[in-house]
């Protein structure tokens, strides 16, 4: 039951929020309460799986290959916890920053639905169920994106929804093909049976279809256009929620599907993933350089960072393909990807929250229109400095360790090209962070057009940002334990038999074996 809670709690919260339509205060209280209890539940799950056990839940008591199974392994539990952290921070920020109309209508219930869908995607052990969570995510994010109906929002939303629908369609096609050829959609069952496929080319086709469809969701090269076109248009709280979670669900799905199901395709796919990773990094960061708006720059950096996560995955599966499973270097590279994801979710969401704070204090996020925040708002500037340096990978902060693990994995695996690319991209990331810093925070303060924020708004806006900053520093200082957590998660990911055994324990395994 426990592992269904991160989905059920926000869903319940969303249903209750609907009852208070038109009243922002009770909705805000409900949203904060449900994200806080969602966080508590996911931390509880994380402690439950910390020692390597994998928790499963068969909904309605239907055994594994027939019913819908929820599976919480270490990686899934980490992702759910991060989702809850971002959710809580964004809800707190919304209390201070949302305008009255949005806050009293759809903002809270839709954000909660989005959070429920994200946790569902992280926890499900069934491919079709994953599709359902993806659709729920797409629908709620689409409405969040267009809520308010401003011109820019609609333009971004159309690009967003078109490409994402394309991705859903490809995913659905892949699901149809898989069900037609293998006869099961339970991921653990699929992992055992896909080796029996008569035609090995079919497995390659299926893996490619899924890779492309999740690649679109993740914003990987060459399917990233929708992301920078849409992320800067909605209110800041919404773009923070998106930036922290949506693309990462795509990355999660790629990692889950490749590591669990298509392990025989690895030597082939490893290079593909690496090339995609390199191109994603480079195009993302180059796109960011020419931008002149804080939120647009940050959107392009999401794309670039997705490349780092794929890099870890690519190195790992390429190695396993050539050296065989449980090679320590592969585990190291994979743990780099996992570490990078959890560093990135926190830092990226936080940078978007900060750009939101800049937007509501000055009325703009354009680099040319905002100046001298370091003098007028020193606390906010310090928070930005911490997060942006963490993103660029300056030592002690979480980003440094995430990149360190990745680069070390890459060097030991002998993938020098991708390591070189990643270091160069790192430098360019530092360049665009410095650009934001010099233009927005340095210089003489402008006369602010918008009135100064009142104390209450300030408290709600700054406290989640400060909290996330503390978190990124903590991950950096406690790098040892964070890295160990990532290593354990990676080891579990690469050894798919543990996942399969956890889903089919004891008697139910026989039912699964029956033709």
């Amino acid at each position: 039951m426990l592992i269904a809670l991160p989905v059920l709690i926000p869903m319940l919260g969303a249903a209750l929020c609907l009852l208070f339509w038109g009243r922002s205060r009770p909705q805000a209280v409900l949203a904060l309460a449900s994200t806080a209890s969602m966080l508590a539940a996911s931390v509880w799950i994380l402690f439950g799986v910390r020692d390597g056990t994998i928790l499963t839940l068969n909904f309605g008591g239907w055994q594994a290959p027939f019913g819908i199974t929820f599976v919480a392994d270490l990686f899934g539990a980490i992702m759910v916890t991060l989702g809850a952290i971002v959710g809580l921070a964004v809800m707190a920020f919304s209390v201070g920053a949302s305008d009255r109309l949005r806050a009293s209508s759809g903002h809270y219930p839709l954000s909660l639905t989005l959070l429920a869908a994200v946790s569902g995607a992280f926890l499900t052990g069934d491919l079709f169920n994953l599709y359902v969570w993806f659709e729920l995510m797409l629908l709620s994010s689409f409405v969040l994106l267009t809520l308010g109906g401003e011109r820019g929002q609609l333009e971004g939303a159309i690009k967003y929804v078109t490409l994402n629908l394309l991705s859903s369609m490809l995913f659905l096609m892949a699901i149809g093909l898989i069900y037609g050829t293998v006869g099961t959609l339970n991921m653990a069952d699929l992992a055992r049976r896909i080796d029996d496929l008569q035609d090995p080319k079919l497995a390659t086709l299926l893996a490619t279809l899924l890779l492309v469809s999740f690649g679109i969701k993740a914003g990987a090269f060459p399917f990233f256009f929708w992301l920078p076109a849409s992320y800067h248009t909605p209110p800041p709280a919404v773009s923070a929620l998106f930036s922290g979670l949506l693309t990462k669900v795509g990355v999660y799905a790629i990692i889950r599907v490749l590591s669990l199901i298509f392990d025989q395709e690895w030597s082939l796919l490893g290079d593909v993933v690496l090339v995609v990773a390199g191109l994603t990094m480079v195009t993302g960061v180059l796109g960011a350089i020419v931008q002149n708006d804080m939120r647009r720059i940050l959107s392009f950096h999401i794309v670039s960072q997705i490349g780092y996560m794929l890099m870890g995955l690519g190195i790992a599966i390429g190695l396993v393909g050539s050296l065989g499973a449980s090679s320590p270097i592969a585990v190291l590279a994979m743990s780099g990807a996992v570490f990078y994801i959890f560093h990135h979710i926190i830092v990226k969401a936080n940078l978007f929250l900060i750009s939101g704070a800049v937007l509501i204090t000055t009325g703009s996020t354009n680099l040319k229109e905002v100046n001298g925040l370091a003098k007028s708002h020193p606390f906010l500037s310090m928070l930005f400095l911490i997060s942006s340096m963490s993103l660029a990978g300056i030592p002690i902060l979480s980003g440094f360790w995430a990149k360190f693990v990745l680069v070390r994995g890459g060097l030991e695996a002998g993938s020098y090209t991708i390591v070189l690319v990643s270091l160069a991209v790192s430098l360019l990331t530092l360049y665009s962070m410095t650009k934001i810093w010099t233009q927005v925070f340095w210089g003489e303060p402008d006369d602010l057009k918008s009135p100064p924020l009142d104390r209450r708004t300030k408290a709600w806006v700054y406290s989640p940002i400060a909290g996330m900053c503390v978190l990124t520093i903590c991950i950096g200082i406690g790098a040892e334990s964070s890295a160990r957590l990532a290593l354990d998660a990676a080891e579990q990911l690469l050894d798919s038999s543990r996942y399969i055994d956890a889903v089919f324990d004891g008697a139910s395994a026989q039912i699964g074996d029956a033709p």
Binding site: L8, A14, A15, L18, L57, F59, G60, G61
Partner: protein, 139 residues
């Protein structure tokens, strides 16, 4: 619309369709039907009424706002999974009791039915929310 025949027909059809939707809902467990179809049929009754007579009248007959239906339905559907937890079984596992309704003994009443009622309300609420909003813009 000003056709008298249409108006009179819609007034008669609304209660019939609501009754039919409940029949669909009840037989849904073992035969074609269920909460989804029931909700759609009920919603089309109200939509028909709104088209034939007028929108405010149809809203008045619904008594509650469609949004309330959505949230009540969601809550009912989520709560239908809880009874199984109380006897330490997986969430959403079907639990049945036999009750006597109107002299019929041994009528089976269970959590899947409660879930279906939730679906019925959600579908009714969503469909009407969309249809009424569109109709409002049109007028």
């Amino acid at each position: 619309m000003n056709s008298v025949i249409f108006q009179v027909a819609a007034r008669v059809l609304l209660p019939v369709m609501l009754l039919l939707s409940v029949v669909f809902l009840l037989r849904g467990h073992n035969e074609p039907g269920g909460g989804f179809i029931g909700g759609l049929v009920a919603a089309s009754g109200y939509i028909l009424y709104a088209l034939a007579v007028n929108l405010p009248e149809s809203r008045r007959l619904l008594h509650v706002h469609p949004r309330t239906l959505i949230s009540t339905g969601l809550l009912i559907a989520i709560l239908s999974g809880v009874p199984a937890l109380l006897v330490d079984q997986p969430f959403m596992k079907g639990k049945w009791i036999e009750v006597t309704i109107a002299g019929f003994e041994g009528v089976k009443f269970g959590t899947p039915f409660v879930f279906d009622v939730g679906v019925y309300l959600v579908v009714l609420g969503v469909t009407l929310l969309m249809a009424f909003t569109l109709e409002e813009r049109y007028q």
